[in-house]
């Protein structure tokens, strides 16, 4: 059948044209197109990779930041805690000191009072003694003023003493 018979002329031209076409397109179209496609793919790939790396770096930076922040926060907490401790200690010390001082003052006061008391007592003793002596003197003096009675007494005493 006509349709199924290859034509020599057409075959000749087809071979020629298709050969030229493959050669030409290979050299002037496919090679530059495919190479720039590849180049673009590489560019995109490297850009993606870089983005990925940047993201990882960012994540790392962020974690570093967090770490630093956490450290700073810990530092601050520690400082606050230390300060509080110091304050507490200072207050406690002051209190203790005050107590000691108070006690000492009280003790001193007590001692002073004791001393005063002792001085007072000794003074009183002294005064009492002198007072007693005075009284005794006055009493003796009055007793001695009556000479006859004295002589009587002495004579009684002597008489008593003779009996012994």
């Amino acid at each position: 059948m006509e349709l199924l018979t290859p034509a020599i002329g057409l075959l000749f031209w087809m071979a020629l044209v298709f050969g030229i076409l493959v050669f030409f397109l290979k050299k002037f179209a496919w090679k530059p197109i495919l190479s720039s496609l590849k180049e673009r793919e590489d560019t995109i790939e490297s850009a993606l990779r870089m983005a990925e790396e940047t993201r990882a770096e960012m994540a790392k930076l962020k974690s570093d930041n967090d770490k630093i922040l956490a450290e700073a926060r810990a530092e601050r907490d520690k400082m606050i805690r230390d300060a509080k401790n110091i304050t507490d200690k200072m207050i406690a010390d002051a209190k203790e000191k005050a107590v000691v001082e108070g006690n000492k003052i009280i003790a001193d006061a007590r001692e002073a009072i004791q001393q005063e008391k002792a001085a007072l007592v000794s003074q009183m003793k002294k005064d009492m003694a002198s007072f007693s002596i005075e009284i005794a003197e006055k009493v003796i003096r009055r007793e001695l003023a009556d000479k006859s009675s004295q002589e009587a007494l002495v004579s009684t005493l002597i008489s008593d003493a003779n009996l012994n």
């Binding site: 006509e2 349709l3 199924l4 018979t5 290859p6 034509a7 020599i8 002329g9 057409l10 075959l11 000749f12 031209w13 087809m14 071979a15 044209v17 298709f18 030229i20 076409l21 493959v22 030409f24 397109l25 290979k26 002037f28 179209a29 496919w30 090679k31 530059p32 197109i33 495919l34 720039s36 496609l37 180049e39 673009r40 560019t43």
Partner: protein
């Protein structure tokens, strides 16, 4: 490329072939009926058959279809609007002859001792009969050759533009026509060639890309009213299939040949039978490539032409309206087929090449 898609394509192809066969039978029966009646007035005036047909107001659909899908020495866009093409003839006895196909039209199919009998050119002997001793090598720029040259020019201009645009937009997003062609190139490379040819694909990519775009552009040119039916011509499809065959077998590795001679797991007694099957398989591949493209494109043209022919047979507005809708529908399908067939031809070529250069032994040879 997943096997599901291939299965779908194969099923779709089978369906197409069945419809194609039905329509071929239908149109050929019409053709033969009309051919018989047309033959009487035909012998005396080889070339003016159509003229007489028109004069007699008799419409011969088979003749019309054959005229449209066959090659021709002139390019008839519409009745009366014909582009004359150069006729190039070579005979051992008379040497090279170049003249315009207009000379044949003027001389009623005869010029300078040559006769154009249904696009077959013969030498006339002095008595006016055919000179059987002279073999005429017909290297004319026929309608198909002209269309092929046009497609080559289109491809070269298009692809150089795209290449230039690539050079200009180096490292940037595609622009203009480049953004239309680029995804197709990507698709052919990443979905068709790389999965089927394998890691050594770069060597075959230029051929396969050219193949795809050549078939695609010519399929589309063939759909334009008045266009030539180049990819529906068996010479062209045979040529392309043979090129794929040659590339496959030049590059075929040891495993491929070994598989042909001694397929694995086959009992020795079965080997002669396997040789027959394998060798038949080797030649079936280019055959199927040839016939698939040829039949698909030609069938599409025949369907559209048959539908349009109905208008001239029935000469009714109602039929005209229905047929127009049908033709529109068929044209849409043909548009799809134009892409599909270019894709399938490239896909199968890639698979054949891939199966021949595959390193592993468990190669599936695609049959």
């Amino acid at each position: 490329m997943n096997s599901l898609l291939i299965d779908r394509i194969i099923i779709e192809n089978m369906l197409r072939k069945i419809t194609t066969k039905l329509l071929l039978v239908l149109s050929l029966s019409l053709f033969s009926i009309n051919f018989a009646s047309a033959q009487e007035g035909h012998e005396a005036h080889p070339e003016n058959h159509e003229a007489t047909a028109h004069e007699e107001e008799k419409f011969d659909i088979g003749q019309m279809i054959m005229h449209h899908i066959a090659d021709s020495h002139e390019w008839e866009f519409a009745h009366g609007l014909t582009l004359p093409l150069p006729v190039i003839l070579y005979t051992k006895q008379y040497g090279l002859e170049v003249f315009s196909s207009k000379r044949f039209a003027e001389g009623n199919g005869v010029y300078n001792g040559y006769i154009n009998n249904h696009e077959h050119i013969h030498r006339l002997n002095p008595q006016g009969g055919l000179d059987e001793e002279v073999h005429v090598w017909d290297l004319s720029i026929t309608k198909n050759v002209a269309s092929m040259l046009l497609s080559a020019v289109i491809l070269i201009v298009l692809m150089s533009t795209v290449a230039k645009s690539f050079a200009k937009n180096r490292g940037k997003a595609p622009k203009g026509i480049q953004s239309f062609i680029e995804p197709i190139i990507f698709f052919i490379r990443d979905e068709v060639v790389i999965p089927n040819v394998g890691p050594k694909y770069e060597k075959y990519l230029p051929y396969l890309l050219t193949l795809f775009f050549f078939i695609l552009v010519n399929n589309l040119l063939g759909l334009i009213p008045g266009g030539a039916n180049l990819t529906g011509n068996i010479t062209i499809t045979l040529f392309l299939a043979v090129i794929t065959f040659i590339i496959t077998h030049i590059n075929a590795n040891k495993h491929y040949w070994l598989h042909l001679v001694k397929p694995e797991g086959v009992p020795v007694a079965m080997l002669p039978l396997m040789w027959v099957v394998e060798i038949a398989g080797v030649f079936m591949k280019p055959m199927s490539l040839t016939i698939r493209l040829f039949a698909n494109i030609t069938a599409g043209h025949i369907i559209i032409l048959s539908l349009l022919g109905l208008i001239f047979i029935f000469k009714s507005f109602a039929v005209g309206g229905v047929v127009t809708l049908f033709t529109l529908f068929m044209n849409a399908i043909e548009l799809l087929v134009a892409f599909l067939q270019a894709f399938i031809f490239t896909l199968l070529s890639s698979m054949y090449i891939g199966s021949a250069i595959e390193e592993h032994h468990e190669a599936d040879h695609g049959h």
